[in-house]
Symmetry: C2
Subunit: 479 residues, 2 copies
C-alpha cells in the first residue's frame, strides 16, 4: 500500500479535516515540550474510539507506525513522530475529551484520554473530590498523557503517582482490538496489565478510556515556606521531616537561584537570604494538620531552618505556590532556553547527589536552577542556556548525561515522571543489562507484536547499545 | 535425561539431605493450606542463590518443571506441584531465610524469600519501624510467598498491599539467570517488571531477594469495636466512615456467627447481641487519631451503631484483636473443615453483595462465617462443613462458584490476596476474554519462554475454557 492510498483510507475514516499533511500542520506536530522533533507522515485526529480502532487497523494493514499524542507537553520526546523504517503518523487523542461519568459515592471518574488534568479536578470539586496527581503541566496536559508517562506532581508525595489512581483502562491494541484492563476493584485478575500499561508511553497501543480514583478534598490545608542556610540542610530536613512521621502532602525544594529569580519575577515573598527553601503543604483533618506542621518545624529547626512563613488564608497560600509555579515563566525572563532533567534518587541520598550535581554544573561552566519534588527524591536540575553561544548545547547535554549517570550510581532511576521517550532511551543501555533489555523487548512484543506502536521510544535497539557513552539526543531525532 | 539422572544432578548441587523423594517427604509437600494437592517428583530445598540457579538450570536441561514454595500457607494451590506433561519438583525457598540488611535511615530491609513475615517486623521494631503488610498468616508465611501472591492484611487498607512495599526484586529466571528488577528509588526504568512480578505466583521464576520498604511505627494507636444491628448497616458504615475522610489503618467486619464463635472460644468481650461488628484501628499522630475516631463514630452512629468498646491500653487492644485473630482456631472447635473465599468488590457494592452471598449460602443449605477486610471490599465468606456428610463438598464448591460469579458480576475480581493459583484458574475463562487471556499468555511466555515455572497455575489452557461453568477444582488436582 503506498502512502497516498493509506492517507486516502485514513481520510475516509476521520474526514478530510482531521487528517492533515501540509508542511504547516506537520510542523505543529513535530515536537513535544522537549528539544526533540521529527517530521510525521501526517497528523491524524480521530473523533471516536471507533475511528481510533479503524485508523490503527489501517496502519496495521499498511505497515505504517503511529506516535500517540496527548497535549504535547511531554519533556522526553515520547510523542515525537520518530522515523523507524517508515515515517509514523502523529495520532492525536485530543478530540476524545469528554468526562463520561463521575460517580461521587464510588469516587470514580470515567474519562476519555483527551480530558485536561485540571478539568477533571475542577469537575470533581463540585462533589468535594479531586484527582490527586497534579503535574506542573496540569492546566494543559491530558489524562491520557499522564497515564502514558505515569505522571507525578507536587502532591504525589502523599498520594502516589498516577499509577496509584488508575482503576481500569480501555486499550486499543495495534490490531485495533479493544481490551478492558482490570475493573473498579482495587486488585486485578491475572498479571497486572493495568499497572504495566501505565507508564508504557504509547508503546502498547492507545488508551481510549480510563477509570480514575478520586479522593476527598481535604477539610484543612496548611502551607509553609521554610528557609535553610544551605541546600544540604534543606535536603537533610526533608529526610528528617518524613522520618518524624509528619508526611506532608507536598514537599518542594527551591534553591537560591530559583528564589531570587521568582522574587524578581512575581514577588511571592520568598526569603532572598535563604540558600534554599522547602515549600511544605499539610492536608487532612485539622488536628492532624496542626501536628504535622509542628513535627515538621521541629525537624526543620534541627537542621538549622532560619525562617518560616505560614499562609494564614487562601490568598497567602496561593502566593506561596505562585513562586513555585512561576518557575518556567521566570526563567523565560533570563534566558531563551533551558534543559530540565527528571532523575530520581533514594531520599537519603538527596544531599550528596545535589552536591555532585552542583559540581557537575560548575565544571561545565553552566548555570542551573533546582526546583523539585524533594520528598520523592525526584530531582529536576534545570540547565539554563542561550543556544547562540557556540558549544553551549554540547556542554548542556554533556552535563545532563553526567547528572543522569550520577543519579544511577546513587541507586536512582532515569525518570520520575517525564518518561524515557527518546531522550533517555539510550541510557537504558547503561542501567539495564543486555539480558534485562531483552526481557523488556519480549514484554513489549507480547503486547505489540507488530512493533507499530510508538517505535523508537523507551527501549534502545541492540545495535544502539555500543561502547560509546549514551547521548540525550539519539540518532534520528532533531534538536 | 531420565528422572534418576536428573535427581542425581540435583543431589550433587544441594546435597542428599536437601533433595527428598521418599513417599513421606513427598506427602508433606503435596499441599498448601487449600484442599488442592498433587504428588511432586521430589522435594528440593536449595540453601543459596547459587544452588537455586543451578537447580533451575538442571530443570531447564532436563525439561522438568518446578513449583516454587514458601511456607505453604497459600489458600489457592499456588505451591501445589500440579503435573503438566511431567511431574514438577517442589522447589522450597525456606532455607533462604536471612534478613541481609536493615537500613533504619533509608527505612529499607534487604531480605531473602524464606524470612517469615512477622520476623521482619520484629527486627524492624528495634528501629521504630515495621513492614506494613500483615497477612493473617504472618507468623508462618514467608516474604517470598507474600510477594508471589501480592498478599494483603488487616492494615493494608491504609498502607496498601505488598506491591506498594516492594522497592526491588532479584529474580532467577527459568534459564537460571539473575535479574535485578528496579532499584531503591520509587520508580522503575522501562516497563514495570517489578510490579508485574509481584503477584505472579512463581510463574516468572524464583524471587531470591527483595528490598522492602519499612514504615515508622505509629506514635499512637486506637482500636475500637463497633456493634451494628445488621450486616448491611455495618457495610454501609464502612463506606460512610471512609467517605468521611477518617481513613482507618484497619477496618474488619465480623458477622454474628463469627462473634458467637469467638466469644465461645476465647471471650474477647464482643457484643453477642450485635448482628455485625466493625473492628477499627486508627494510627498516627495523636490528634489525627482522635479526630479519626470521632469522625468514624459519627458516621457509624449515622448507620445505627448500637455499641462501642474502645481499647484503653495495649492489653485491651490485644484482647479486641484476639477475637479477630482466633477465627481459624475457633472454627476448628465447631467443624472439621472450612472453605475460605477471597473475592473483592468495589466498596460501594459491599452491602448488596453480602446480601446475595448470604442468600447463596442459605440456598445451598450451608453455614458461612464472614470475617473480612471490609475497608478494602475484600470478602472472605467461609463455608463450614464436615466432609463425612455425603454431597456436602459438592455443595460447598457449587456455592463457592456462585459467590465468585456474584463478585465478578458486581465489578469485582477473583482474588484480593490469596492469588489465582489452581483454585481460581478456570474462572479466568469467565472474567477475561479469550483475546485478553491470549495477551496474558504471551506476557508469561515473554518472561518464561520455557513454560517450566509453576505450570498449570494462574492461566487456564485454551482447551479448559469450554462451555461448562468453571470449577474450583480443575482437572489434575486432588482434593
Amino acid at each position: 500500500v503506498n502512502e497516498q492510498r493509506f492517507l486516502e483510507r485514513v481520510r475516509d475514516i476521520v474526514g478530510d479535516a482531521w487528517c492533515r499533511t501540509s508542511a504547516y500542520d506537520r510542523a505543529l506536530y513535530r515536537r513535544d515540550a522537549s528539544f526533540l522533533n521529527a517530521d510525521p507522515l501526517a497528523v491524524v485526529l480521530p473523533g471516536t474510539v471507533g475511528e481510533v480502532r479503524a485508523v490503527v487497523r489501517t496502519c496495521a494493514e499498511a505497515g505504517v507506525p503511529f506516535a500517540p499524542r496527548g497535549a504535547g507537553t511531554g519533556l522526553a520526546g515520547g510523542a515525537v513522530p520518530l522515523p523507524s523504517d517508515r515515517r509514523p503518523i502523529s495520532l492525536s487523542l485530543a478530540r476524545l475529551d469528554r468526562i463520561l461519568s463521575l460517580d461521587p459515592q464510588a469516587a470514580v471518574a470515567e474519562v476519555e484520554p483527551g480530558v485536561v488534568n485540571a478539568d477533571l479536578s475542577k469537575a470533581a470539586a463540585a462533589h468535594g473530590l479531586r484527582f490527586a496527581p497534579d503535574p506542573s503541566s496540569q492546566i494543559a496536559s491530558t489524562l491520557g498523557g499522564n497515564v502514558a508517562t505515569n505522571a507525578g506532581g507536587a502532591h504525589c508525595l502523599a498520594y502516589g503517582v498516577t499509577s496509584a489512581h488508575v482503576l481500569a483502562l480501555e486499550l486499543v491494541d495495534t490490531g485495533g482490538d479493544l481490551h478492558l484492563l482490570s475493573s473498579l476493584a482495587p486488585e486485578t485478575d491475572g498479571y497486572d496489565l493495568r499497572g504495566l500499561t501505565v507508564g508504557s508511553e504509547g508503546t502498547f497501543g492507545l488508551v481510549t478510556r480510563a477509570w480514575l480514583r478520586l479522593l476527598p478534598l481535604p477539610p484543612e490545608t496548611r502551607t509553609l515556606l521554610v528557609g535553610f542556610p544551605s541546600v544540604r540542610a534543606a535536603c537533610e530536613g526533608v529526610t528528617d521531616i518524613i522520618a518524624a512521621g509528619a508526611m506532608p502532602a507536598a514537599c518542594e525544594l527551591m534553591d537560591a537561584t530559583a528564589i531570587g529569580m521568582v522574587e524578581d519575577y512575581c514577588q511571592p515573598g520568598y526569603p532572598r537570604d535563604a540558600a534554599a527553601v522547602l515549600l511544605l503543604e499539610f492536608e487532612g483533618l485539622p488536628g492532624a494538620v496542626a501536628e504535622g506542621v509542628e513535627a515538621a518545624l521541629a525537624a526543620a529547626r534541627g537542621r538549622g531552618a532560619q525562617s518560616v512563613s505560614t499562609a494564614e488564608d487562601d490568598q497567602a497560600r496561593a502566593l506561596l505556590w505562585k513562586g513555585r509555579k512561576s518557575f518556567a515563566g521566570a526563567i523565560a525572563q533570563l534566558v531563551p532556553e533551558y534543559y530540565l532533567h527528571d532523575v530520581v534518587v533514594p531520599r537519603t541520598k538527596l544531599a550528596d547527589v545535589m552536591d555532585e550535581i552542583l559540581r557537575i554544573v560548575a565544571e561545565h561552566g553552566l548555570t542551573a536552577i533546582n526546583v523539585f519534588h524533594a520528598g520523592d527524591g525526584n530531582l529536576h536540575p534545570t540547565l539554563l542556556f542561550d543556544r547562540r553561544e557556540p558549544g553551549v548545547f554540547e556542554r548542556v547535554t554533556a552535563a545532563g548525561a553526567a547528572i543522569v549517570a550520577t543519579a544511577h550510581a546513587a541507586g536512582g532511576v532515569l525518570s520520575g515522571e517525564h518518561g524515557i521517550g527518546i531522550e533517555k532511551r539510550d541510557f537504558m543501555c547503561a542501567v539495564l543489562s543486555e539480558d534485562d533489555l531483552h526481557v523488556q523487548r519480549r514484554l513489549r512484543a507480547a503486547i505489540d507484536p507488530s512493533g507499530l506502536a510508538n517505535p523508537g521510544k523507551v527501549l534502545p535497539s541492540p545495535a544502539s547499545c555500543g561502547d560509546a557513552p549514551p547521548s540525550l539526543v539519539p540518532e534520528g531525532a532533531w534538536v
